[in-house]
């Protein structure tokens, strides 16, 4: 067995980084604290390198550094780096910057732990670290009523989700005598009482909350609309990557493989997926705020990911979900960074406030459109290929494996694609097509923001053309 410390090197680096940032906050004089952002970026970069070299294995029965966490780690760290770069540009003269960086790193740390969790305790630990950091990030602009409200809503819903989850976990422990996934799986492979199934579903509430799938999505629109866009960029992507990774591991390890996912669990997943897709699409078209529309779209995208997981087992559905997450992450961060610029300049991301954006900032608005079209699934962008992959798995499981509810779910995905296209077009219309009186020349964008947008745009186009992506990811999972 490999040395646990070596296995957990990336997590260790980020954990030490949080402390280092907080210490730097004390040592640096007021007005010069923005250098801390650089430290945060370097810490994540170091963790990224460590993740590339730190092997696979299990840490007792608590954490499992398997192919899933190996896949999730770079995603989490890269998304964090992107958001840190943007945040540094945004908060240059903000003495609270070090605390913000520390929270972002905590979010990443919680996500890394969650993604690797193979035990209910570590799962809970990781989710709570993520949540606590997230609460503060959502309510970051304490003076701003909407931001404070967002933070409050996030806390209340998060607390309820945690409670339900702990309730389920305690039942699992009472019924099976185990907290680690493998132990639970061993008990369940002999017998699958309904009570355990119910407890498992309760225990997944915390994950569903992080993914923001129906019916645990109610906080998302308000939090997205109220919280600062940069925080939303992190909150909408990093926890999703972690939650998906741990959900896959949980499904594969606890649910007996001959039933995986068993009829009832598969049904639950595809029902949640269909509900998320439909709710997201039909509520998004009534929204009048760009961030709210992105929030509803995030619910729909989470539903799509769940749909891919309903087609488990096998590496192909995981590859489809991973590819989807990658495409979603870059487009979502890109779109929210664009919206964050507009929000800071125009005071809000309401559709009416975006009028004339194209004339004022043509490049930024074009980038926003690119990300929105990718989220809408317009080829040849990443979002299209990702959706293609999920559809392929769902239709394959539906036709070739005989789970016909997945075929229906795939058609629901297609229908919701057409409906939610209207919602994205609302943003495009507001920013591009709506004329406005002449506006002052805008200040130059921070170089970091430009760099992040270029990276996201390149990834959005590049991933869309990378048809071999699914096969490559599936091969990296094959070793498991």
């Amino acid at each position: 067995m490999m040395d646990p410390l070596q296995l957990l090197l990336p997590e260790g680096i980020v954990a030490i980084g949080v402390i280092a940032v907080l210490v730097a906050d004390i040592l640096l004089p007021a007005g010069r604290k923005n250098g801390v952002g650089i430290i945060g970026i370097f810490i994540c970069a170091a963790a990224l390198i460590a993740a590339a070299v730190s092997g696979r294995g299990a840490v007792h029965q608590m954490l499992s550094l398997d192919a899933l966490s190996v896949l999730a780690r770079p995603g989490i760290l890269l998304a964090t780096i992107l958001v840190l770069i943007v945040g540094r540009g945004e908060q240059q003269r903000d003495d609270g910057h070090p605390a913000w960086v520390a929270l972002m790193l905590s979010l990443a740390l919680g996500a890394l732990v969650t993604a690797a969790a193979s035990n209910m305790v570590t799962l809970y630990l990781g989710l709570e670290v993520m949540s606590l950091a997230g609460y503060a990030l959502a309510g970051w602009k304490a003076g701003d009523r909407q931001s404070a409200e967002a933070g409050m809503k996030y806390v209340l819903f998060g607390a309820a989700a945690s409670g339900l989850m702990l309730f389920g976990m305690s039942h699992i422990y009472g019924l099976t005598g185990h907290l680690d996934f493998r132990g639970i799986g061993q008990v369940l492979s002999q017998d699958m009482p309904v009570a355990v199934l119910a407890a498992l579903m309760l225990a997944s509430v915390g994950i569903a909350y992080k993914l923001a799938i129906v019916p645990f999505h109610f906080y998302a629109p308000d939090v997205y609309q109220g919280a600062p866009a940069t925080a939303v960029a992190a909150l909408g992507t990093v926890p999703k990557i972690a939650a998906t990774a741990v959900l896959v591991r949980g499904l594969l390890m606890t649910v007996p493989s001959d039933l995986a996912p068993p009829a009832s669990f598969g049904w639950a997943l595809s029902l949640a997926a269909m509900a998320s897709l439909l709710v997201a699409a039909f509520t998004a078209i009534t929204s009048r705020n760009a961030k709210r529309i992105v929030a509803f779209s995030a619910i729909g995208h989470a539903g799509t990911i769940i749909l891919a997981l309903a087609a488990l087992p096998g590496p192909a559905p995981i590859a489809a979900a991973a590819f989807y997450l990658a495409a979603y992450t870059v487009a979502n961060i890109g779109a929210l960074v664009c919206l964050s610029v507009f929000e800071n300049e125009r005071g809000s991301a309401d559709l009416s406030a975006l009028a004339g954006a194209m004339r004022q900032r043509p490049w930024l608005t074009s980038a926003l459109c690119l990300f929105l079209f990718s989220l809408a699934g317009v080829p040849p962008l990443a979002g299209f290929l990702a959706k293609w992959g999920v559809l392929r798995e769902a239709l394959h499981a539906g036709a070739q494996l005989g789970r016909s509810h997945l075929t229906v779910a795939a058609l629901v995905l297609l229908a919701s694609t057409a409906v939610s296209a209207w919602a994205y077009l609302l943003v495009v219309r507001a920013a591009v097509l709506q004329p406005a009186a002449s506006q002052p020349n805008p200040p130059r964008l921070a170089p970091g923001t430009v760099a992040v947008l270029v990276v996201c745009a390149a990834a959005t186009i590049g991933l869309g053309l990378w048809l071999d992506g699914f096969a490559v990811i599936a091969r990296s999972l094959g070793g498991r």
């Binding site: 079209f373 239709l395 077009l425 219309r429 071999d468 699914f470 096969a471």
Partner: protein, 501 residues
């Protein structure tokens, strides 16, 4: 690796489109050059097919893309795609001249036109189903922005309606494409249309949602195609989009985008699902006939000139459906000839409507009269366009229509009846077009201020005269075009008949 002419016909518009972004003044020149490349390639290929008729794919090129998915950049043309390629180059070149003096951000305008052209050419030349779908969808974005940014008063609504309507029409095609890919045995999965065509029995025997995959796929392509054509009752986006779109975009919309629907039926629905085409042919024919009559009838009552021409498109495109659905060589060839010639005549009509809109700033058919006096050249060209639209022998509208009707008349089943009913529309279309002609161009000059209208200038002649010349040329000498298109239609019908039980 050498890049061949067909790939260039997609790459050149993209490259020139990027150059368009450089400078406002030079953008239009780059756009013109970008559209001349596919025009040249298409004409050369069409000439080759006219001289050496055949149903094979020529100018084939393949670049591997993803071996795992079986997707590749494979291009090739038969007579029909060569004609479509030439048409798209021509129509976009003419649309560029029509938008020559575009004042509002000409860089973005011309660059988006080029993106649109590249996507349309991609659909015409590709032999890969995935690339076909990608290009099919890519077209929506430039079209959305072109209508939404440079259109009329209600442009934003019209553009979004166009986008969502056509997107909704084609999403089922995505499910079809994936289900077909899944149904193929492991290791032989591909998107190559030539391979997929040979597998038509597999689509019939694979179940999808309780029906054969072939039936689902046929429905999916049909829906996507009929929205684009547009066939009644899926046509409601068209008048809106046309009325709001700027003239040049109306020209592209009527001249090429509508043809894509027919092309999708010809390239996907018929070859991939021949048994379904045999089974449902009568329904497509019926939809065609309904469109022919409904479009003509509604056009008769239109006051807005653009709406009138838009509904006449609905009517004329019905002949393409009728001809293809009749499953006779004459009918199918006639339908495709009609697709080409309607591209010429409807483009011309939209250009002429644009010409008087530029002068009078309205399009109300009752607000004109006697324009022949101040604008004799305009009146002559409008006369030719109307007569071509009405299907007068000796002009381009005639051969396609008559072949489609003839093919339908000789086909079995309900088709003779369809042909008889569709013939009625010849009267209707003569009525609405000539009535429009009379009200706009002839009679006494109703509005004295119109006497000062200048006649067509050099730019307007440059965009209309080539179309007039082609309309007359194809009208009096349709032989080469028909020769180039017929073998492909024959091969298709042989393939479809092979699926008879």
């Amino acid at each position: 690796m050498v890049i061949g002419p067909l790939t260039w016909s997609v790459l050149a518009p993209l490259a020139f489109g990027a150059l368009c972004l450089a400078k406002d003044r030079s953008a239009r020149w780059f756009a013109l050059l970008g559209s001349l490349v596919p025009l040249a390639v298409g004409l050369a290929a069409l000439g080759d097919f006219a001289r050496h008729p055949g149903s094979d794919f020529r100018l084939l090129e393949t670049f591997p893309w993803s071996v795992a998915l079986g997707a590749s950049w494979t291009v090739g043309v038969d007579g029909i795609s060569a004609a479509m390629l030439a048409l798209s180059g021509l129509v976009v070149a003419i649309a560029t001249i029509s938008g020559w003096n575009q004042q509002r951000s000409p860089r973005a305008y011309h660059a988006l036109t080029m993106l649109l052209l590249a996507a349309m050419n991609g659909v015409f030349v590709t032999l890969d189903l995935l690339v076909f779908y990608v290009c099919w969808e890519v077209m929506l974005v430039p079209m959305l922005l072109l209508i939404g940014l440079w259109g009329g008063d209600q442009r934003r609504y019209a553009a979004m309606k166009f986008f969502v309507y056509t997107l909704a029409g084609s999403v089922l095609m995505l499910a079809m494409l994936i289900a077909m890919w899944n149904a193929l045995p492991d290791g032989q999965r591909t998107f190559d249309l030539r391979v997929l065509t040979t597998q038509w029995k597999l689509w019939e025997s694979t179940a999808f949602l309780g029906i054969p995959l072939a039936a689902f796929g046929f429905l999916a392509v049909l829906l996507a195609a009929l929205v684009k054509v547009p066939a009644v009752p899926l046509h409601t986006w068209l008048p809106h989009a046309h009325v709001q779109a700027p003239t040049a975009i109306s020209v592209i919309l009527a001249g090429i985008l509508l043809k894509l629907g027919v092309y999708a039926l010809y390239r996907l629905a018929w070859p991939l699902f021949p048994a379904q085409a045999l089974h449902w042919g009568w329904l497509i024919g019926l939809i065609g006939v309904i469109g022919i009559l409904w479009g003509a009838w509604v056009a008769l009552g239109q006051r807005d000139l653009k709406r009138l021409v838009a509904y006449s498109s609905v009517s004329h495109m019905g002949f393409c459906l009728l001809g293809l659905a009749s499953l006779s060589v004459a009918g199918a060839t006639g339908g495709m000839v009609q697709a080409v010639t309607h591209g010429l005549s409807s483009s011309l009509l939209f250009l002429l409507v644009g010409v008087i809109y530029d002068r009078a700033h309205h399009r109300n058919v009752d607000g004109f009269g006697g324009l022949a006096a101040p604008m004799p050249r305009f009146a002559w060209i409008l006369l030719i366009a109307c007569l071509a639209g009405a299907g007068l022998p000796g002009l381009a509208g005639f051969p396609g229509e008559v072949m489609a009707l003839f093919g339908s008349f000789t086909a079995g089943g309900y088709f003779p009846w369809f042909a008889v009913i569709a013939t009625l529309s010849v009267i209707l279309s003569a009525a609405y077009l000539l009535w429009m002609l009379k009200r706009v161009a002839y009679g006494p000059l109703l509005h004295p201020e119109h006497a000062a209208f200048p006649d067509l200038d050099a730019r307007e002649l440059a965009m209309t005269v080539p179309l007039v010349a082609l309309i007359v040329l194809i009208g009096v000498w349709p032989g080469p075009l028909v020769d180039a298109l017929r073998p492909s239609c024959e091969a298709l019908l042989t393939h479809v008949r092979g699926a008879m039980p």
